[in-house]
């Protein structure tokens, strides 16, 4: 199968992106400065997102850019703030031991590549059986232009239900382990919340406009945050026609609130979105999703079978079903990302220099 010309362009771009990924990967191994490692991980997942775009995986690139390059970096920074900055270099023996293990696994995989289909081969078993079937069936059975959303929300809806439960578990986990930080009382004293040690805050005084060096950031943030929320809603409802959907929209919405809390402080954010609402939101999404499943059973169909929703026109039923579960996914993902950020950022008011 000669590689036709149009395919060559992408080979060149793929090669460049792959080489950059390798450089960043090797650098990650050698660097011990934690900050550089976290930043490089952000760049690594960004490069992966670009590679996904060049491999036609637009939805995946969207999620990887939003989640991998965005939220993960902010979370790691939050965790790094509370931990040390330098990682200890690894002792020699351990280095050789792990090199051995890694070498063996690498050889096993390398051995397997000889029977793997060529890159981009249209009639490889993977691309010619169920994958192709979805393309044909989506037109008539689900009627949603974005086939990925159709599979995600309708054919394999139970996968997505499991995934939303995984997100809820992570949110519960962080709330159980770190607590969600409690609403601050007026004088800045934070009541002792259970076992976490939340330091008491120095009194918060009013701000003189002249002293404020960050007027630029505040103004820009005031302009940007509404646009980001609007963009999140666009991504949510545009999910049927282009890349996007509940997960990406939830992450974008959460990053808008995180930007707000970065600049205007956690107290303002807690007043805007209290911790109780966030905690309730994490469970609400799963209830919407599972509730729809139970409704479809009550209406005589199987679990998450949207055709029964509107007996008249099954395609309309599919659209209604997909819309409802995307809202469920949006609510859970947004509130879980927020609860995780509340847990991390609300942990310490301010670190003294000595224990840095």
């Amino acid at each position: 199968m000669g590689l036709d010309v149009s395919f060559d362009i992408f080979i060149v771009i793929d090669l460049i992106i792959m080489s950059m990924l390798l450089v960043v990967g090797i650098a990650l191994v050698r660097l011990n400065n934690l900050f550089a490692v976290v930043m490089l991980y952000g760049v690594y997942s960004l490069l992966a997102a670009i590679w996904f775009v060049s491999l036609d995986a637009v939805d995946v690139a969207f999620t990887e850019a939003a989640v991998g390059a965005g939220i993960s970096t902010v979370l790691m920074l939050g965790a790094m703030l509370l931990t040390s900055r330098e990682a200890k270099p690894t002792p020699a023996l351990r280095r050789w031991l792990s090199l051995g293990v890694v070498g063996v696994t690498g050889m096993a995989l390398f051995y397997a590549t000889f029977d793997m289909p060529n890159f981009g081969d249209a009639n490889s078993p993977a691309n010619s059986y169920v994958g192709l079937q979805y393309m044909y069936d989506t037109i008539t059975e689900v009627g949603v232009p974005n086939v990925v959303t159709a599979i995600l929300a309708s054919y394999r809806a139970f996968d997505t239900f499991g995934e939303v439960v995984v997100v809820l578990t992570a949110g519960l986990g962080v709330m159980l382990i770190l607590g969600i930080g409690t609403t601050r009382t007026r004088d800045g004293e934070s009541p002792q919340s259970g076992d976490e040690t939340t330091q008491s805050a120095p009194p918060v005084t009013t701000v003189l406009a002249t002293e404020n060096h960050h007027i630029v950031l505040q103004v820009v943030a005031k302009i940007l945050i509404p646009i980001i929320v609007l963009y999140a809603l666009y991504v949510q409802f545009h999910g049927d026609y282009g890349p996007g959907g509940g997960f990406q929209a939830g992450v974008i919405f959460a990053s808008a609130v995180i930007l707000y809390s970065l600049i205007f402080g956690m107290d303002e954010t807690r007043r805007a979105i209290p911790a109780k609402v966030v905690q309730f939101g994490t469970a609400l999404g799963v209830l919407i999703f599972g509730g729809l499943g139970l409704v479809t059973i009550a209406m005589g169909g199987k679990f998450l079978d949207y055709d029964v929703l509107t007996a008249a026109d099954p395609i309309l039923g599919q659209h209604v079903g997909i819309l409802i579960i995307e809202v469920g996914v949006l609510v859970t993902v947004a509130s879980v990302m927020l609860s995780i950020y509340y847990g991390f950022a609300g942990r310490y008011r301010e670190l003294k220099d000595q224990d840095w």
Partner: protein
């Protein structure tokens, strides 16, 4: 009245090409500046070029290339976001670096040129 529409069409693509190419050249200049300049504050100038001039030229070129479609609207949105965020970010980086006490390397202390060093300069 000769019909000037086809010429406009050609002009549009030529202009788009020129803008794109110009933007790319400035991008390369900015990147080389980032790599070669000795000091943080000098490098921030190099980043400045790419963030403003190159971005505007590239996006203008793409808008011309795509004519009046939904893509142009999206490109306009990208331009607005970049226009808002990158100067603010560069400002915030410079502000934080200065506050953290990173002193710019002023002209007085000339680092010995590598060639002089080899020759055992005075």
């Amino acid at each position: 009245m000769i019909d000037i529409m086809p010429y406009l069409e050609i002009l549009r693509y030529v202009l788009a090409g020129a803008l794109l190419f110009g933007g790319a050249v400035f991008m390369i200049i900015g990147a080389v500046g980032m790599l070669r300049l000795p000091d943080f504050y000098a490098r921030i100038h190099a980043a400045g070029i790419t963030d403003t001039l190159a971005t505007v030229m590239l996006i203008a070129g793409m808008m011309l290339h795509s004519g009046f479609t939904q893509t142009t609207a999206k490109l306009a949105l990208v331009a607005i976001f970049l226009f808002l965020t990158s100067p603010t970010a560069t400002h915030a980086v410079a502000n934080a670096a200065h506050k953290a006490g990173l002193k710019p390397r002023l002209g007085k202390v000339q680092p010995p040129h590598p060639r002089d060093k080899m020759k055992g300069a005075k």
